[in-house]
Amino acid sequence: LRDGALEGEHAPALTIKDSIPLGFDVFAHVLAQLSSHILAGKSQSRGLVLVAFTRSPSFYVDLLKRGLEVNSIQILDCYSDPHGWKDRIKDVKDMDKLCSLAIELGKGLLGEGKGRFSFALDSVNEMLRYASVHSVARVLSDLRSHDLASCVFWLLHSDLLEDKVAAVFDYMSSMVASLESENLSLTEQNFRRAKFSIRFKRRNGRVRLMSEEVSIERSGITFMGGSLLPKVQFNLQLSEKEQMDRAKVVLPFEHQGNGEPIEIYDGRRSLAD
């Protein structure tokens, strides 16, 4: 996401998918990381437009305030009054208008300068409550294909959607990050640790899978295991049983160590000497 789009290509698009309520923590983590890269000038993107449906803009400001310039983030508030119940004018159902508003905000971030900006959407599920799958897919596609888009990422709760709908958004992404828990019952362990898997779709069509254990605490996310292990058809690491079996194998010519001095017959004289 940090490297952004190549010339002549659509911007990379990431779906963060969960079926347990931990996905938002990952979304927030990606948001915070990308924001700090933007601030440090380390990313292609010079600003970020956040389309907020499930949390208030002030929540995000608090979340990102650690060292962030407000100038590099714009928040499109679709949370406070999506249907105009408080203030009759607003209505988020018009997805085209939403899309163009988001792009305008991004251009505003760039000002006179050149460059690109990123989009973050929280969340696709809320958008689907207000508009059809086609409209929402069109918005994401338009954002992704815009000349000034550096990258796009969004949050998706797959257990709230039919499989075919979730598949639509999988197809639109160049990367899909999924969070799964080991077992289905609601235990404390469950909601702090999960398996984090990413599927990358490369330009040449090859797909790369990686996975890692994740631990989520109030202070943030910790990725265990140091680096992402690529997910391949064979095991790269030995299981415990395999490790024990390996320790038991007696190699030829290895010292057996039965307490007596070792004698190796080298064929030049008899052992009795």
Binding site: S80, D159, L160, T187
Partner: protein, 262 residues
Amino acid sequence: MDNLLDRALGLDGRGDRWPLLGKVVLVEDCVETGGAFVVHHIIKRFLSPQPAAASNHSLILVAFSQPLSHYDRVLRKLGCNLVAQRDHDRFLFFDMLNLRFPGEEFRDDVKTGSSVLVSLFEKIYNAVRALSAEKNCITIVIDDIALMEVVANGSSDSVLDFLHYCRTLTSEFDCSVVALNHGDIYSTTEKPMLMLNLEYLSNILVRAEPLATGSAVDVHGQLMVFNKGEHDGQGTPGSKVHNFHFRVKENSVDFFYPGGRG
């Protein structure tokens, strides 16, 4: 005196601030194990005699299932006088059975369907704004969501919209929202959308279930309290899950760990 439910909900602190400020609490129950006592307990804790600093607590009860007399009777047994609180403007009762609201005459031209919820929200929003202007700490209780769906002619979208708007009140005015829902109504649907959406929306989920071993005289069921953490960068542990049993008595409820019943 604090009990296991207070501890699970975070109500066992000694501070002046109501711990559930800005939070959405969803209570899920079923036919075998009613969860209304959890809602009554929270109401009682919220309106109980407080130190002077906390005397500005105001409760809005949106009742779809019972009349005021029912809540009055129940809360009196728990030691809380709702009628007196109402007379002091600390308790607002939105009677959705008869469509009567505080300060309004009964009207014939009542809207039906999903627009009922839009106008209900408008009334709640106005009430919250007025109370908030006087620096009040506000809790909105909804009893219950299943009947709200009936009032909205089965439109779960309208119910979700309404609850989304109630949630915006938690960020705009620091209100608490407590809602009761019946989980077993959705048990035959493959993906119970409304229930799942509500679980995502809430900060604290309280589920009342029967014991796996069936009904018993001295244990009426079990409670699971899932208190989700949010990012606040303070390094304290995130989400916590609490499990314990309960027994509903005439004037109170006992909470205890499995096997801890004396």
